[in-house]
Point group: C2
Chain length 200, copies 2
């Protein structure tokens, strides 16, 4: 059914409102189809994952062209750095990437913080979340709904494509009364070193 995201489409900007309202329609549809908030959250995450795996190649092509020639080259760079426990380099690439990606796809730049000493947990903090711009509050009886869970799935999918497995969840949500929206990312394991050696 589908073909890969082209590297440099001519007109790559559209009006945000159409996307935000379409996303709202998608969430409303899922709420109709599934009684439990947890099921809606899972679906949004799953959809986002699939989107993330497709967006990442386009993202890397646009942002890493000065340094890398191909998608496999950037995944190798991250994989090598990770496998040699070069955490600061990996984190720097990832932090910067998340910021650039949010700016590129949603028009906002999150701040990034590291949450623990072993440096495998960090947070993206959004003062403003465009995806829930027209939403004042969660629907009645939907207090556990993670309205923007698609974003978690997208990040998870994109990281998976550069061979980094992560747990991505909302830690704070303005729709639930928090002052900011915070997405927490925990890296679950290091990639298999041998796998990348074989690819050289």
């Amino acid at each position: 059914m589908s073909r890969p995201v082209p590297r440099r489409p001519q007109h790559h900007k559209i009006n945000k409102d159409l996307f935000v309202l379409t996303y709202g329609a998608l969430v409303a549809q899922l709420c109709k189809d599934h009684e439990k908030d947890e099921d809606v959250n899972k679906y949004l995450d799953k959809m986002g994952y699939s989107i993330g795996t497709r967006l990442v190649e386009d993202f890397l092509a646009r942002t890493c062209v000065t340094r890398c020639h191909s998608y496999s080259e950037i995944t190798d760079i991250i994989a090598q750095a990770s496998s040699h426990r070069n955490q600061p380099q990996v984190l720097l690439i990832l932090w910067k990437s998340q910021q650039v990606a949010f700016k590129m796809y949603l028009g906002v730049t999150p701040s990034v913080t590291c949450n623990n000493a072993s440096r495998n947990e960090f947070s993206l903090i959004l003062d403003k979340n465009p995806l829930s711009e027209f939403v004042e509050e969660l629907p009645t009886g939907r207090s556990s709904l993670c309205y923007c869970n698609l974003l978690c799935g997208i990040i998870r999918g994109a990281l998976e494509m550069v061979h980094l497995t992560a747990d991505v969840t909302f830690l704070q949500d303005r729709l639930k009364g928090d002052t900011v929206t915070e997405i927490g990312i925990i890296f679950l394991k290091q990639p298999n070193e041998k796998k990348y050696r074989r690819r050289k």
Copy 2:
């Protein structure tokens, strides 16, 4: 749950790919939930209708500010012109609006043709449809799916909000082997003249 679309958001452009892939995920979800293509088409139209009713105010606010001061003013202008059978004026407003709206929200400009002598049927012809940019063909067994039916719903909803009832359907679709994508619009009735007289 929701609030009105704000008139002039600061950053109103986002990357198209994210929207197009999210829309793909929405259609895939509906295909999972509904066996019949007709049911998926209906859902997309219904969702689009709801989006159209919300987008129209923002659209009119952005495009008609030099001439009108409010949403109700533009609906009155269209209603009055329609009720006095001033078809050329109504058509001119509508044709131009559709072209501007497509350019504003999807980044493409359709050509517009009138299809009959009584001038209540016209077509929007798109050489390129951004919404199906990453789709090569319809999924197996989904030959009656109108993949982009959300667009028909959006147009129908937007027209309804300016008191014009219309039937909006795909007449040609590149995903079904046609050379262009053509959306047909048939105006079903004239608005009630008395209603608008009363509002003056």
